[in-house]
């Protein structure tokens, strides 16, 4: 009869066989103690603790031991497994860094079943809101301190009350699900995992502002999210939760999906409205603001998916409960997509104010390769990089802005020492150049010119004056662009310049890329001592710049080499060196 389960994982970086060895020793010890039939030993793939040697988790006692040595096994069997007592010096209190509020149901409920959602407190907030009245709802949301999760951080309650107070019997509610940051997919995950929460948030918001029609504006590249949201709307419709006289009240609201079509700029409110109206998604000057003159000239409120997903639980649990979570000016939690060179890439949700270090190292498990961490990029193409010495910054809207980045929609890209900051700046700028709508001159031409300057830097064809040119254009774009896309497009360049100017200067003055990423600045040579004379490199070379034969070995003719790096990638023996 099995009474306890022990999960085992060696969390030492780079360890490959530690878990197995410890498991074998432990198994032998259990057999010796005649406990083999009562204790179940399991090698875990991941135990959620990193860099703490061998970690054990004992169930159902829920005791975690860290840095366990082989000689501790006897004690553990004797004290804990036989008698259920903890051993103080081995105890480890794993911290629950994550707090799942928006993602509460994601991965727990069936997103295609409205009943499952209702069983998890679903649609109670809507019912309560309808009884409380719009003013109370807006007061609660305002008091909760909820701010827009799409990037701007505008107070949600204020947005609602502005739309509510604009006169008019026709108003619109829009859910912005045109998630476009490269490397961010929080909204997709929520729509796929818990669509009813967003629908409920939409309905509450629509009720508060006085809307009778709501639109989901979803990226066309998210077919599964579109399918699940449509299914959820249909189910809610069948239950009378969407449509006429919801819950028997006077409130009626319909929901409809509209698709984006591959234009990042449509995340901007006025461009999004133009797109729903069936036009080119170019931004218009504000004022007039959408809350006054939005979709088809009517007062319109636009909220992001994650913002709306927060609404039902705030109404259910009250604003005081919500505002206890987070920091002074940033309440609640934030979902981040932690990706890049991180060990556990995925979606996490943490209270505002969690430090970047905790996110990257404790939850993310550090870099995947074990190489040195270099920077984390937040806020996508409108954000910036944050270097290691600032990792203890608690994440909230204001702190990130102070560091020259933004919260953005929640992408968090981890970079290690192999990543070149000029290359990163180029990547994001290229994105903005591709996505610029082309309407206003600073963004359209400024972005293009900056990209060209960065290309020159990464090829070693630049001067220090070009850094000044970059700064000059960046300022013009920030100040003279019409919409948020152009105003923030230079941020990745400015923030990499701010923290890694040395790297830029190294490219310019010494024509060297310290991360060995900018291939134009590298020289490829074959290390004869490691070369096995297989000739694979010579065959892979597109310029036939590698000469030699299987007897004498191979050499690269630097005059003909175009620095494509094919030989470096092809060589199985690490004999091609780049410097």
């Amino acid at each position: 009869m099995i009474t306890k389960t022990v999960l085992i994982k060696d969390t030492t970086p780079g360890s490959t066989s530690g878990t197995k060895e410890f498991f074998d020793v432990f198994t032998a010890a259990l057999r010796e103690s005649k406990l083999a039939d009562e204790i179940r030993l399991v090698r875990a793939a991941d135990i959620g603790v990193y860099n703490h040697g061998i970690v054990l988790k004992i169930l159902p006692d829920n005791i975690t031991y860290a840095n366990v040595q082989h000689h501790d096994i006897k004690r553990i069997i004797g004290v804990t497994l036989k008698h259920g007592n903890p051993i103080k010096d081995l105890l480890y209190q794993p911290r629950a860094y994550q707090l799942r509020l928006v993602l509460k149901n994601c991965g727990r409920i069936d997103p295609e079943s409205i009943d499952d959602y209702i069983a998890h407190d679903g649609y109670r907030a809507l019912s309560a809101a309808l009884q409380a009245g719009p003013d109370t709802v807006i007061r609660e949301i305002t008091a909760s301190g909820l701010r827009g999760r799409g990037g701007g951080g505008f107070p949600t309650g204020l947005k609602w009350s502005m739309t509510r107070s604009t006169p008019g019997n026709e108003k619109y509610m829009i859910c912005n699900a045109d998630e476009g940051d490269p490397g961010a997919y929080m909204d997709r995950s929520v729509l796929e995992g818990d669509p009813h929460a967003v629908i409920e948030g939409m309905l509450i918001a629509g009720f508060a502002i006085g809307a009778s029609q709501g639109y989901f504006y979803i990226r066309a590249e998210y077919p599964l999210a579109i399918e699940r949201v449509q299914k959820a709307i249909d189910q809610a419709h069948a239950y009378g939760l969407v449509g006429e006289r919801i819950f028997g009240s006077d409130f009626s609201m319909d929901l409809e999906i509209r698709l984006g079509a591959g234009a990042f700029v449509c995340g901007e409110e006025t461009a999004l409205i133009a797109s729903i109206e069936g036009k080119r998604g170019t931004p218009s000057p504000r004022p007039p603001y959408p809350s006054v003159k939005g979709l088809w000239g009517k007062p319109t409120c636009i909220n992001n998916v994650e913002t709306l997903a927060n609404v039902p639980s705030i109404i259910r649990n009250g604003s005081a409960w919500f505002s206890r979570i987070g920091t002074e000016n940033s309440k609640g939690t934030k979902v981040f997509a932690v990706t890049g060179k991180v060990r556990n890439s995925g979606l996490i949700e943490v209270p505002m104010g969690t430090t970047l270090r905790d996110i990257v190292f404790e939850i993310g498990g550090g870099t995947a390769s074990g190489k040195r961490f270099k920077a984390v990029q937040t806020g996508g193409p409108s954000g910036g990089v944050i270097p290691e010495h600032l990792l203890d910054t608690p994440v909230d809207y204001d702190n990130l802005q102070k560091l020259g980045s933004i919260m953005g929609s929640g992408g968090m890209i981890v970079m290690d020492e192999d990543d070149c900051m000029v290359d990163i700046a180029k990547f994001y700028l290229k994105f903005c150049v591709d996505e610029s709508c082309g309407k206003c001159a600073p963004c359209r031409i400024g972005g293009y010119q900056m990209l060209n300057l960065l290309e020159n830097i990464s090829r070693g064809n630049a001067t220090l004056e070009d850094l000044e040119r970059l700064r000059l254009i960046a300022k013009a774009m920030q100040k003279a662009s019409l919409c948020g896309l152009g105003q923030t497009a230079a941020n990745p360049v400015l923030s990499t310049l701010r923290y890694f100017e040395d790297e830029y200067r190294e490219h310019i003055l010494n024509r060297r890329c310290p991360s060995k990423k900018c291939t134009a600045l590298l020289q490829f040579i074959i290390d004869r001592s490691r070369c096995k004379k297989c000739g694979l490199c010579a065959r892979s070379c597109p310029e036939k710049a590698i000469t030699g034969d299987k007897e004498h070995g191979y050499t690269i003719d630097t005059a003909r080499c175009i620095n494509c790096g094919m030989c470096f990638e092809t060589c199985k023996f690490g004999a091609v060196e780049r410097n």
Partner: protein, 277 residues
């Protein structure tokens, strides 16, 4: 009535007045490029930016309604630097063939470059190199000279409701042209000329056949007659510095005869004939 200040000067204007209009009322000149008095602001160029006290953003004067109590600054070194950079950027996307351009000396971009004292090029040139469209007998479209102000589109689509011209593509490669790969002659264009008369640069310009006319006039085998549109009788005066509205009929006929035309017809003659019928 709204009361605000511009560069410390108090302004009293009606609600809905833009910062640009208000500034003009108190003789403050804010440079503009895409703005045209006949058209709603397109807010494209970013030259007319100004500062409002209490905000670190810069606002477009052409499309921002002035608000009660606003304290507006139209010129300081920072604003001028940003404007200048934007202008340099626009110039980096515009060919340098002013001397050969039909809009030479009547070009709004050229005037602005002169006003800002641009003497050298700060950024490398990037010209799109899209071929000219000279398919009609009326205009030449030269996309390389387009500054994306959007005036021609606004005129063609919204005011004239012709929809011959459109903004195609996106970002740096966006351009104005007829839809679906058509040349202008295949498009719904009615050659009204409004696009050309509102274009700030030489991107849309009337087809110039002066040389051909001179040649015909000098050919003794040709009997040359000329016919003028009714509006020209008055409109041409402005080009010679007369006050707007000056009737030039007599002078015009005289000049045309002196140029060598054997007969001068006026389109209004046909109207007279119609009335007699």
């Amino acid at each position: 009535m709204i009361i605000a200040t511009i560069n410390g000067i108090p302004v009293h204007v009606a609600e809905g007045t833009t910062i640009l209009e208000a500034a003009r009322q108190v003789q403050v000149k804010i440079p503009t490029l895409c703005h045209h008095p006949d058209l709603p602001p397109t807010a494209a160029c970013g030259i007319c930016i100004v500062k409002v006290q209490g905000s670190n953003k810069m606002l477009r004067a052409c499309c921002t309604p002035i608000e009660e109590g606003m304290n507006i600054l139209t010129h300081d070194p920072e604003i001028v630097e940003v404007r200048r950079t934007v202008l340099e950027l626009i110039l980096s996307n515009h060919p340098n063939d002013c001397l050969k351009c039909g809009r030479n000396q009547s070009c709004e971009l050229q005037n602005l470059a002169a006003a800002f004292g641009i003497r050298e090029e700060l950024f490398p040139k990037f010209i799109s190199g899209i071929p000219k469209d000279d398919s009609t007998n009326a205009f030449v479209i030269d996309p390389d000279k387009c500054i994306h102000c959007g005036r021609c589109i606004e005129i063609c689509q919204e005011l004239q409701q012709v929809w011959a011209l459109s903004f195609l593509g996106r970002g740096f490669s966006s351009r104005f042209a007829p839809a679906a790969g058509m040349r202008l002659v295949e498009s719904p264009c009615v050659e009204c000329g409004q696009c050309s008369s509102h274009c700030p640069t030489g991107a849309i310009f009337e087809l110039d056949e002066t040389v051909k006319v001179w040649q015909k006039l000098q050919d003794p085998d040709n009997y040359c007659v000329v016919q003028i549109a009714p509006s020209v009788r008055v409109a041409i005066g402005e080009a010679f510095g007369m006050p707007p509205g000056t009737n030039m009929t007599g002078k015009l006929y005289t000049v045309l005869r002196r140029l060598g035309f054997k007969a001068v017809f006026d389109t209004s003659f046909a109207a007279d004939v119609t009335v007699m019928e």
